[in-house]
């Protein structure tokens, strides 16, 4: 869409001299239509049908959507998802920022250390899930042994309904704090050194400098990191599926896992499509809420600075 923009920073009027960029975009647009837009339209269509593999399809209108509030497993899955997501946004943001502050310092082998630190997020999720499962093992797992060293009684980790979500969040935090670290590190690198120099002369402590110089300047980066974390945590599948498959019972069944069961275990394609749509709307709404928060904070900052 090449609409005239008032904030044209190049100084050149767009209607004059600018070549057409459409040929660059068209092939990708075709791919996007085929593998992203078409599936979405098709999903909407399927969600309006009673559609089970191997059975005739019947148009049922919004029936699949009306099923959801009355489906206790779905309602429970929403709560699991929200709890899992809230923890999986906050904890990586905290630990990632901490790590970014450390990695912002100069020390020998920093690049190598950073490489080691980001390994969990790059490693194949199923592979690490497998090892975590072994580590969670109540009798033979190394985690309970480590707890015993500091005098904490053995835990059931992912094998108990009460501790399964925190345990999975622990894996998720271990895995994704590095992403937050990288984004915040980028923010730290963009901060000029002058504010710190004058703060040092004024005798500011480390915490004061972090609170009043660093934190405000990296807030936009924290928001980006938080946004990405929000979306990824909501969608989290591999780790949960490979470690617990939603169990024990349904204690760690998030919407995404339930969606898998409905669509590819029960082959209830119509209902699965409806869940997929509602799930997507939920993600968009939560992301929009977060964007709104960001805009409001921008506004407050602007007012405070005036």
């Amino acid at each position: 869409m090449r609409e005239p923009r008032r904030d044209n920073s190049t100084g050149l009027p767009q209607r004059w001299g600018a070549p057409s960029y459409w040929p660059f975009v068209l092939p990708a647009m075709f791919i996007v239509l085929a593998v992203i837009v078409f599936p979405w339209i098709f999903t909407v269509w399927m969600s309006l049908h009673e559609w089970k593999v191997g059975q005739p399809t019947i148009f049922v209108g919004l029936f699949n959507y009306l099923r959801m509030p009355k489906d206790p497993r779905f309602v429970e899955a929403i709560w699991h998802t929200l709890l899992y997501t809230a923890l999986s946004v906050i904890l990586p943001l905290f630990f990632g920022t901490l790590a970014a502050v450390v990695f912002h310092q100069k020390f020998p082998l920093r690049g190598f250390m950073r490489g080691l630190y980001i390994m969990p997020m790059m490693a194949t999720p199923v592979a690490i899930a497998l090892v975590w499962t072994m580590m969670f093992h109540p009798q033979l797992g190394v985690l309970n042994y480590l707890l015993s060293l500091v005098g904490i009684p053995p835990q059931l980790w992912v094998f108990h309904p009460g501790s399964v979500i925190p345990s999975l969040v622990m894996v998720e935090t271990w895995q994704w704090s590095p992403l937050v670290m990288l984004i915040v590190l980028g923010g730290l690198a963009a901060i000029p050194t002058e504010p710190y120099e004058s703060a040092l002369i004024d005798g500011a402590s480390f915490w004061q400098m972090f609170r009043f110089i660093t934190l405000p300047l990296i807030t936009p980066f924290l928001f980006i990191a938080g946004m990405i974390r929000l979306i990824d945590a909501l969608k989290s599948f591999d780790i949960i599926f490979a470690i617990t498959q939603g169990g024990p019972g349904n204690a760690s069944e998030t919407i995404n896992l339930y969606l898998y069961s409905v669509a590819f275990v029960y082959y209830d394609i119509g209902y699965g499509s409806a869940i997929a749509l509602v799930f997507f709307v939920l993600i968009v709404v939560l992301a929009a809420v977060m964007l709104q928060m960001r805009q409001r904070m921008h506004w407050n900052e602007a007012m405070g600075g005036a």
Binding site: V32, V35, A123, V142, I183, F206, K235, Y260, L277, I283
Partner: protein
């Protein structure tokens, strides 16, 4: 910044007269600061390092050592046959090549299509086009699977690698476009305008001015697309048959069916993720550079 590291220990003691302090105390603080920093680095990196060390340890132990309590880190006898068992059984090599073909095709195709698209979108300031990419980024992979699974069924593609290559585009194309938009938005447009004034066409400008500058961005897009495609698991569990499994799916199936002994399982897990981990260590500069550049643009 060494400034912050230095002030770390000073701040903890609540000193407010650093400027007037004598040389000896400053050196002492520098040393203390360095030790503190080393400790902080160790604390932060250890969960990652210890995990992978433990993973290696699990993979080279016999069953009896893996089942012992307290756990053994370095066993008396190394069970190299765990690796041998994995490499010789379960069609591991075939699954390795499956993964290579799926990831390679999906990544190359995404680069061919996505790099120009990122350029076009950045230059057109087509923020609405970027929204489509954003939607793709937001959508759970499973949502694509239901309709595309049916489509592949109708097209008779199930049982070949084609469905997985196509569906991996869902992962790779948005990554490439997203990173390239970020990169092209930060590359100077003045050079391109100069080239255009000299009579270069849009394609020439792209090929000879924009593309060379964006090479680091392309490297990043390539690396991330490869990693996320290689690691992908969701698409495989639904679309892969016995012949067309990728490695993550093969490993998952090992958990559920073939064996319960930890040694070979850990060995398989390590083999599957080793290429990605090596890439991470060797290309961490590109990964970091790309993600930070993308974030700067978004900030």
């Amino acid at each position: 910044m060494s400034l912050i590291g230095h002030s770390n220990t000073a701040g903890r003691r609540g000193s407010h007269r650093r400027a007037q302090q004598g040389g000896f105390r400053v050196t002492l603080r520098k040393v203390a600061g360095k030790i503190g920093l080393a400790f902080a680095v160790f604390l932060i990196v250890s969960p990652a390092i210890l995990f992978f060390i433990w993973m290696i340890s699990l993979s080279i132990k016999y069953e009896i050592d893996n089942a012992s309590y307290p756990p053994i880190l370095i066993p008396d006898r190394f069970a190299w046959e765990n690796y041998k068992a994995v490499l010789t059984s379960n069609r591991f090599i075939q699954y390795f090549f499956n993964t290579l073909i799926v990831t390679g095709s999906a990544t190359l195709f995404a680069l061919v299509v996505g790099v120009p698209a990122g350029y076009g979108i950045a230059r057109m300031r087509a923020h609405k086009a970027a929204i489509v990419i954003l939607i793709a980024r937001i959508t759970p992979g499973l949502s694509y699977l239901i309709p595309l699974f049916l489509a592949f069924q109708w097209l008779g593609l199930l049982g070949t690698l084609a469905p997985q290559i196509i569906i991996h585009l869902v992962v790779t194309v948005p990554i490439v476009i997203w990173i390239m938009i970020g990169f092209f938005e930060t590359t100077p447009i003045e050079l391109e305008e100069a080239a255009r004034l000299d009579g270069a066409g849009a394609w020439q400008v792209f090929r000879h001015v924009a593309l060379p500058i964006a090479r680091p961005g392309i490297a990043v897009a390539f690396i991330l697309a490869v990693i996320f495609s290689w690691n992908n698991f969701v698409f495989g569990i639904v679309l892969a048959g016995r012949e067309t499994r990728t490695l993550p799916v093969a490993v998952y199936n090992m958990i559920s069916f073939d064996q319960l002994s930890w040694g070979p399982l850990a060995a398989a897990a390590l083999l599957v993720t080793a290429p990605v981990l090596l890439l991470t260590i060797f290309a961490q500069r590109q990964i970091v550079a790309g993600l930070t550049a993308g974030a700067v643009k978004g900030g």
